[in-house]
Amino acid sequence: MNREIEAIYALWKRELIRFFRAKSRVIGSLGMPFFFLAILGTGLSNAFILPMEGNYLEFITPGIIGMVLMFGSMFSGIVVLMDRQFGFLKETLVAPVSRASIVIGKALGGATTAMFQGIIIMLIAFFLGVNFQIGSVLLLLLFMFMVSVMFVSLGITIASKMEDMHGFQIITNFLIMPLFFLSGALFPLSTAPEILRVASMFDPLTYGVNGLRHILIGYSDIPFTTCFAVISAFTVVFIAIAIWSFNRIEE
């Protein structure tokens, strides 16, 4: 058991070292969300009739945090593919530790860096004038953590199935982007057309964004208990699928 925990810790640390070493990656990953906040948040301030008090910037901030969590986590999951291409994956696969520990180590590492990015975006939003009403910091962190682990697991699952980086573009265009736009990060679901609203119910990020919105500014299109239940369930299921898929990698 000790052996497994050590391995998890080592892999977690690796993710952090890699993340913080590539300064350009850190800054690059924060660029897009920053512009979303700064430009959309102010430019579209009168475009929607919001079902809540507060301005549009306040409405999309939790959505953008959800986006950062998803992008950051998915990317660290997909790094498994790069590890395979550059050979490092083999080194982990023949180590005397279980594959489950490898997945858990990666998931924790990826979640930590994604949460770090999410918190930075929160700070930026704060300086842009967002008025947060955070009930429980612990609940916030737990929720962010679950959302991140869920998406790292999805990333690992996808990476375990893909042979090389060529499919990466497809994943970005046909999975990540739709998940983001459907989630109600940028517009209120309560006033959206029926078809969008139904589709968004199948998007795990919908529950992530609305849960965050509830915790951060006290509004949600979906009851928080539903969000919490759905996200916990998705997290558990996705990590199980990730372990299962990773177990099936032959090399």
């Binding site: 050590e6 690796r14 890699r18 590890d83 005397p96 090399e251």
Partner: protein, 342 residues
């Protein structure tokens, strides 16, 4: 009982034992019923051309791929049933690079030590010792992406040793390196074996290097072991001498000489014909007379004892060099290229 310790001792002298170990990729028999024993403390070389199945064989021994048939024991542990114990007791240097480029040498080693549960108190000491062994002390804090190919290779060897394995697997440890680095890597390997008693299993297709480094070798071709023994043994079994003639029409020359009963074997390679005979010094005049009669112009003649290259030619009918791979081997290589694209 007195017998038991003897039996245990007998069993434990084997670092590796395989029985009809096989691996199929669809219809291709990449490893074909290989039965092999490697005694502890040996430097054991697997020699063979590209696509012979060396890497696949090693992958099964290190629990990376599952055998399609047969069984294998490494350090007394079954590779399928006791994979965890096998993994703990071996070190591996893969054919292809497997370091994390974005970490420093030290971080790579620390990570490995943690994954192999090296006691915390020992890690620093061991990392220092290993890095010194491979001569990378100055580079310890540098990111691996700044390293040359040779430095990366040495770092991988150091990494493979941090957890004090009983067996070290090295798949083509010197491929693509310059001669000087190659020589120094072989020196490390010999030193390791001698000072620490580590069993070493390596693959290579540099015959001369295998000859000078390995205590025992097995020649692998098309998934099968076709000969094994110490390099000296294998060469002695061939016996006699090799007369090499460099000439214009080497194929014609080879054909002429092949006919004679005293010629054990005549093989052409580039512009040279290697003729294996007894008492070479007496045969040179005879050979020259025959060749002259055919009007073939001879550029040079030399006499030597058989090398491992000749052993390889004897068993496979061709040299180990890739460009002369048999049609079968060429197909196997194509399959490989295809397999990697997928």
């Amino acid at each position: 009982m007195v017998l038991k310790p003897i039996i245990v001792y007998f069993v434990m002298t084997k670092a590796i034992e395989t029985r009809e170990l096989s691996k199929n990729y669809k219809e291709l028999k990449a490893v074909d019923k290989v039965s092999l024993v490697v005694e502890k403390g040996t430097i054991f070389g697997l020699l063979g051309p590209n696509g012979a199945g060396k890497t696949t064989l090693i992958s099964m021994l290190v629990t990376m791929r599952k055998p399609s048939g047969g069984s294998a024991k490494v350090n007394g542990f079954d590779v399928e049933k006791e994979a965890g114990n096998v993994r703990k007791s071996i070190g591996i240097v893969f054919q292809d690079q497997s370091l994390d480029d974005e970490l420093t040498a030290k971080e790579n080693l620390e990570m490995h030590a943690a994954m192999y549960s090296v006691p915390k108190a020992e890690r620093g000491k061991r990392i220092k010792a290993m890095i010194k062994l491979v001569g990378l002390k100055e580079q310890l804090g540098k990111e691996v992406k700044t390293f040359s190919g040779g430095m990366k290779r040495r770092l991988e060897i150091a990494r493979g040793l941090v957890h004090h394995p009983k067996i070290l697997f090295l798949d083509e440890p010197t491929i693509g390196l310059d001669p000087q680095t190659r020589a120094s890597i072989w020196d490390y390997i010999k030193k390791l074996n001698k000072e620490k008693g580590i069993t070493i299993i390596l693959t290579t297709h540099y015959m001369d290097e295998a000859d000078s480094v390995c205590g025992k070798i097995a020649i692998v071709d098309q998934g099968k072991i076709i000969a094994s023994g110490s390099p000296r043994q294998l060469k002695n079994e061939l016996g006699g001498d090799v007369v090499s003639i460099e000439c214009r029409n080497s194929e014609k020359c080879r054909k002429q000489l092949e006919k004679f009963e005293w010629v054990k074997e005549a093989v052409k390679h580039n512009g040279t014909v290697n003729i294996r005979v007894e008492k070479g010094e007496e045969k040179i005049p005879k050979i020259l007379a025959i060749v002259n009669k055919q009007g073939i112009k001879v550029e040079s003649v030399s006499l030597r004892k058989p090398s491992l290259d000749d052993v390889f030619i004897h068993y496979t009918g061709r040299t180990i060099r890739e460009q002369e791979a048999s049609p079968g081997a060429a197909m196997r290589l194509r399959i490989k290229a295809w397999g990697h694209k997928r």
